[in-house]
């Protein structure tokens, strides 16, 4: 796959279709790839990588990149295409300035999941028929491959590309996923249990803003939490209230726009399951206002920019579920 991508990128650079390529760059170790822009065939040959660890969604970088001179080639995984489409819909990217090659996603891995097993000193890793064989400073270690999956890939919503100029490999289907299972499990807990669960999770927050900054839906020029004049700007969670407020507002602001790409949970240094907040909104929207998948198209109205005269009343919250 990686070779096919590099070859196609070189062709497109050579025939002048694009003048740069956004992809992923090899790091120091087997797992630490960085999103990067390549301008020459030599750079692509030397550093371009596409493997199990290229989980980062590059769509958000295109907000900035599409405003520069010339066309840029972007390799987008199925989930990344949803983010890109949503950005197109919100007029944050210029579709014509990006040449999109859809690539099969395939589950991506998270080095943190490997380390959480107590495996340290990782020097190399390969998949051997479902067993992940990891070469370390302390000898060879093995673990089931699926246990190293990035949280965002544990329940994949779609293998289909919703926007592309060409594809490498075949297009997939929208999948039946179990992504709302954990939300449902929480909904069925008592209010006290839910409160305790979220307190435990959100109290880990160090307010690094990685969840916000990586989010392809968070594209405000100036975030309310960065604006000293907003009255809520804060660089640290000085009180448990602020932890709650930040995460409620972050998730609310992308409600109806969040494509559920899972980047927020992937980047959280404290492993807070932030995607559950977003999924709660998605689940509510689906059940109250009809199924809606952000990023699926570029024309429909977002659920919070829309209404029906016979929508349910807010009191529905008081009438259902567990108290």
């Amino acid at each position: 796959m990686q070779e096919a991508m590099i070859n196609r990128a070189k062709q497109l650079l050579a025939d002048g279709t694009v003048n740069r390529v956004i992809g992923w760059k090899r790091g120091e170790f087997v797992y630490d790839v960085t999103p990067a822009i390549f301008e020459t065939a030599e750079e692509l040959d030397a550093e371009f990588v596409y493997d199990d660890f290229t989980a980062a969604n590059v769509s958000k970088y295109l907000v900035k990149e599409c405003k520069k001179e010339g066309k840029i080639l972007a390799f987008l995984k199925p989930c990344d295409t949803y983010s890109f489409n949503q950005l197109t819909k919100e007029h944050r990217v210029v579709r014509d300035n990006v040449y999109i090659i859809g690539i099969p996603g395939g589950p991506k891995l998270d080095a943190e999941k490997i380390k959480a097993k107590g495996i340290t000193g990782i020097l190399g890793a390969k998949n051997d028929n479902g067993t992940f064989v990891i070469e370390t400073l302390y000898g060879e270690e093995k673990m089931p491959y699926y246990e190293a999956l990035s949280t965002k890939c544990e329940s994949c919503k779609s293998k289909k590309h919703v926007v592309y100029d060409e594809l490498i490999g075949d297009d997939g289907e929208v999948l039946e996923s179990d992504r709302f299972d954990m939300v449902e499990k929480l909904e069925n807990m008592s209010a006290q249990e839910r409160y305790d669960f979220w307190r435990e999770q959100l109290s880990k927050c160090i307010r690094c803003n990685a969840c916000r900054n990586v989010c392809p839906a968070c594209t405000c020029e100036k975030c309310v939490f960065d604006n000293p004049d907003s009255g809520v700007e804060n660089k640290a969670p000085a009180d448990s209230f602020e932890e709650n407020m930040f995460h409620i507002i972050r998730a609310f602001h992308v409600a109806g726009r969040c494509t559920d790409c899972g980047e927020c949970s992937r980047v959280c240094p404290q492993n807070i399951p932030l995607h559950l907040l977003n999924r709660k909104f998605i689940k509510d929207i689906n059940s109250l206002y009809g199924n809606y998948q952000a990023g699926e198209d570029t024309t429909s109205r977002a659920p919070l920019n829309d209404y029906k005269t016979d929508d349910c009343e807010a009191s529905i919250v008081h009438e259902r579920g567990v108290e």
């Binding site: 209010a191 979220w198 209230f241 407020m245 907040l277 206002y289 029906k308 929508d311 807010a314 919250v317």
Partner: protein, 148 residues
């Protein structure tokens, strides 16, 4: 608000009222000499749609024990459709607060027209009672704002 052993717990209720219907409704309930609790502090907004989720959260931060949002009845919005958007927005917000384990009875949306002075008073009485039963807001309070 503080719970005093000698005194019954008196909640602080913040009521966001839209200028065209509910605020006038509150006025009417006053001119009709109907009683509603002094716990309720009204904040007038041009339209219920003016209230964004941050308003609700910040009211709780600054010591509110319950927050109620009142606007024109669906279909009667002075700006045609403002309250329809409010309805979706608040439904999702309240559902999220519930998801985080915050007592669902601390929040409410009620449609009160300018002619419904009696409904306004009744709603406020009822809501204040409900919040009183819950006790002080502890799950969504900012400790720094608590009066010592």
């Amino acid at each position: 608000m503080q719970v005093n052993e000698n005194k019954e717990f008196e909640p602080l209720i913040v009521a966001f009222c839209c200028n065209w219907c509910s605020y006038a409704g509150a006025d009417l309930s006053g001119t009709n000499r109907l009683n509603y609790p002094t716990n309720v502090k009204i904040i007038r907004v041009p339209c219920s749609c003016r209230v964004n989720p941050m308003f609700i959260l910040r009211a709780f931060q600054r010591g509110a024990d319950g927050v109620i949002l009142c606007g024109c009845h669906p279909g009667d919005c002075h700006y045609t459709s403002g309250n329809y958007f409010t309805r979706r927005r608040m439904t999702l917000l309240f559902s999220m607060l519930d998801f985080l384990g915050i007592e669902r009875d601390r929040t409410r949306v009620e449609w009160v027209s300018a002619a419904e002075g009696a409904k306004f008073a009744a709603t406020m009485n009822e809501f204040t009672e409900a919040v009183k039963k819950l006790g002080p807001n502890r799950r969504l309070e900012d400790l720094r704002c608590r009066k010592q």
